[in-house]
Symmetry: C2
Subunit: 362 residues, 2 copies
C-alpha cells in the first residue's frame, strides 16, 4: 500500500521520458539547440561553449533585434529559415534541426518561452532563475510534462568539478556529518537602466540573479530542502534599487540539523564563496561562482579540492543532450528550479513580514 504512490510517480516519470524518446535521438547525434535571447550571456558564454560541446550544435536563433540576427547569421552560418523572432518563434515546431530550446531571456519571459517551446514539441533548457515565482515554475513543469519533453535548468555549478567534489564530500561524509554552511555571492551592478534592476522583468534583484547560486550550494551540499528561513534586507541606494533587493542576508534551517547563513548583494564586489563546516573538518571555495578561476580548499592537507577548469556551459549542455539521447531523467530539472523559487519566496516573505517563514511545499 505504502509503495503505490511512489511507484505511480516513478511510472509517470518513466512514461514521460519514454514518450519523449524519438528515433532520431540516438547516441552519436548532435542535438540542435535554438538560443532564445541573444544578450551578453548567449554571445560571450553560451555560443562559444556550444561550439565546444560533444553532443550539441547551434541550430537556430530567436531574437527580437534584427541587427543581432544578421550578425549571428553571418558568424554562425545560419540559414534564414533558422532565424526566428518572438512572433515567429512557434514555427520552430516545424524545424527538425531544432531539438532543444535554450531560454536565455529576462526572467519574466522564461515561463512563456518554455511553454511555447513545449508546445512546439521541443526539449527546453532554461536559464536560472527558472521563473519569477513558484507558480510560474509549476506551470512550466506541467507544460513540459504534457509535451513529454525534458526540462533542464541552467545551474552550471552542478557540472563544475569542484562543486561536484564538494557534493561528494557531504554525501560520503568525508569530513563527517555536515553541520553549518556559510555562503555568499554578490557584485556591484553597473548600468542603472538594465532590466535586472526592474521588478517586472527580473522578479527581484541580487537574490534572484546571484543569491540563487549560494542558495543552490546549501541545497546541494545538504541534499535537503530548507524548512524555515529568516531574512533581512538593507538598501543603501534606494534610487538605484527602488524596485529590487540590493543586499540580503538570511539564515535557513535544514531537516538534518544543518544551519546555513547566506548573503547576496548587487551593492559591492568581493563576496563569492562558501564554507562547509563538518563534524571533523571543513572545506569550501573562494571564489566559488565565477565562470573560471575557481579555488577550493579543505582543512586536511591530504584532501585536495583542485581541478582543471572546465567550461560550465559546455558541461551542462552536453549533460542535457546526453540525458535526452539516452532517454534518462536530467538533473537539475524543473523541480530543482521550483525548489529554489520556493526558498526565494520564503526569503522575500520573511523580509516583508519581518518574521520566520516556513518554506512552501512543491
Amino acid at each position: 500500500m505504502q509503495r503505490r504512490p511512489f511507484l505511480a510517480t516513478l511510472g509517470a516519470t518513466a512514461a514521460a521520458f519514454t514518450t519523449g524518446a524519438r528515433a532520431q535521438e540516438v547516441p552519436g547525434k548532435k542535438l540542435g539547440w535554438a538560443l532564445v535571447g541573444l544578450g551578453s550571456l548567449s554571445t560571450n558564454q553560451i555560443a562559444p561553449a556550444l561550439a565546444k560541446t560533444k553532443h550539441c550544435k547551434l541550430a537556430a536563433i530567436v531574437t527580437g533585434t534584427p541587427a543581432k540576427a544578421e550578425t549571428w547569421k553571418k558568424q554562425h552560418g545560419l540559414q534564414d529559415s533558422h532565424v526566428y523572432n518572438y512572433e515567429t518563434f512557434d514555427r520552430i515546431a516545424e524545424n527538425p534541426d531544432v531539438d532543444v530550446i535554450y531560454v536565455v531571456l529576462p526572467n519574466s519571459m522564461h515561463e512563456e518561452f518554455t511553454i511555447r517551446g513545449a508546445k512546439a514539441g521541443k526539449h527546453v533548457f532554461c536559464e536560472k532563475p527558472m521563473g519569477n515565482s513558484a507558480d510560474e515554475c509549476r506551470r512550466m513543469i506541467a507544460a513540459m510534462k504534457a509535451a513529454g519533453k525534458q526540462l533542464g535548468i541552467g545551474y552550471r555549478c552542478q557540472f563544475e568539478p569542484h562543486h561536484r567534489e564538494c557534493m561528494r564530500f557531504t554525501r560520503e561524509k568525508v569530513f563527517g556529518p555536515l553541520k553549518f554552511i556559510e555562503a555568499g555571492f554578490g557584485f556591484q551592478i553597473g548600468d542603472p537602466t538594465q532590466w535586472r534592476l526592474r521588478k517586472e522583468p527580473a522578479g527581484g534583484g541580487a537574490l534572484m540573479d546571484v543569491g540563487i547560486y549560494a542558495l543552490q550550494t546549501c541545497r546541494y551540499l545538504t541534499g535537503e530542502e530548507p524548512v524555515e528561513i529568516v531574512a533581512q534586507e538593507i538598501k543603501t541606494d534606494p534610487v538605484k534599487f527602488a524596485e529590487v533587493d540590493e543586499t540580503v542576508s538570511w539564515s535557513m534551517k535544514f531537516p538534518s540539523g544543518v544551519l546555513a547563513s547566506v548573503m547576496t548583494t548587487y551593492g559591492f564586489n568581493g563576496t563569492n564563496f562558501f564554507t562547509a563546516t563538518c563534524q571533523n573538518g571543513r572545506f569550501g571555495m573562494d571564489p566559488a561562482y565565477n565562470y573560471d578561476g575557481l579555488k577550493g580548499w579543505t582543512s586536511r592537507p591530504n584532501v585536495k579540492l583542485a581541478f582543471p577548469a572546465v567550461d560550465h556551459f559546455q558541461a551542462e549542455m552536453d549533460a542535457f543532450a546526453e540525458a535526452i539521447l539516452n532517454d534518462k531523467p536530467f538533473a537539475p530539472s524543473g523541480e530543482e528550479g521550483l525548489k529554489d523559487l520556493l526558498a526565494i519566496e520564503a526569503i522575500y516573505r520573511s523580509i516583508r513580514e519581518g518574521k520566520a517563514v516556513k518554506v512552501g511545499a512543491v
Copy 2:
C-alpha cells in the same frame, strides 16, 4: 539647550573619574588585583598574564574551594590575610593592597561580585559576558558609578593588534566604506555537566560564551549599534543542550547600511573568523578569537594584517591599570558590556518569537 544633556553626562562621568583618583594611584605604582574565581581561565591565562604585566600584580584571591586557596597561596606567595572566600569577600574593602577586583566567576555571579566590589571601594574588571541580562549590566554600571570607581569588561580582542588594525581599517576607510561582515565563533563543548550548559549560571549557551566575540567584532568594526536582528537556533542534541543554545545564526542591520551575518555554536569545531567586505576591498581573520596563533589577511598584497603575538590578558589588564593610574576613562567599559547584552537579548527574543526584533536602548 540641546547640548545640556550631553554636557551634564560628560560632567558626571568626569566627576566619577576624579572621585576615583587616589593619591596612591600614581604612575609607576603596580595596582594590586584580586582574582575572584579560580577556575581554568584564572589558572591558565590570567595568573600567568598578571605576572607579565607592567602595572599590575596579583594581590589577593577569592575562592570557595579551600584546596585551591592552599595551592594558589603557595604558588603565588600570598599571605592568609589576602585570601578570601565568598562569605569573607567584603572584608577586602579594608585591604589597601587590593585596587582592582577581577570577576572571573560564572556569568550569573558577575552582578553580585561587581556590586560587592563597588561597595568595597574597589575598581572592578569583569569577564564577558558582563551579566546574564541588560538589567544586570545596568545595575552593575549604577553601582560602580555610585562608588566612583572604574568598571572594565574583559573584551581581550580589543587589545589585540590584528583586531585593533581592523578597527583602524574601518575607521579610516582604508578599503573604502564597510559594507558587510561575516563572522562566527564556536567550538564543540565537552563535559556535559559543566556550568556553561546550565541556564541559571550561564544565562545562555554558545551565544553568551563565544558568539559574543563575533558580535563584538561587528560592533567595533562598524563603530555602531545594531538596530534590528533576525535569528535562528538549531538543536541537534536536545539533551546536552536542554537549557542553553547549541547553534545560533543571526543577521543584524547597522544604521550606516552595513549588514552582518553571524553564527555561534557549542556543537562543532572550526568556525573562528570574520570577513569584512568594504567598497574597495576586503580583510579578515581566521582564526580570529583564539588566545594565540591568530591570522589576518587582506585583499591587497601591499596591506598586511600580521602582528607578533601578544598576551591578550596582559594587554587588557595593563590598559585598565593605566586608565586608573592616569584617571582616564577606560574602554571597553560597562556600557560596552551592556550594549552586547542588549543585542544578545534581541537575538534570543528573535529566536523565541520567530520575528525581527529591534535592539533595546541603553
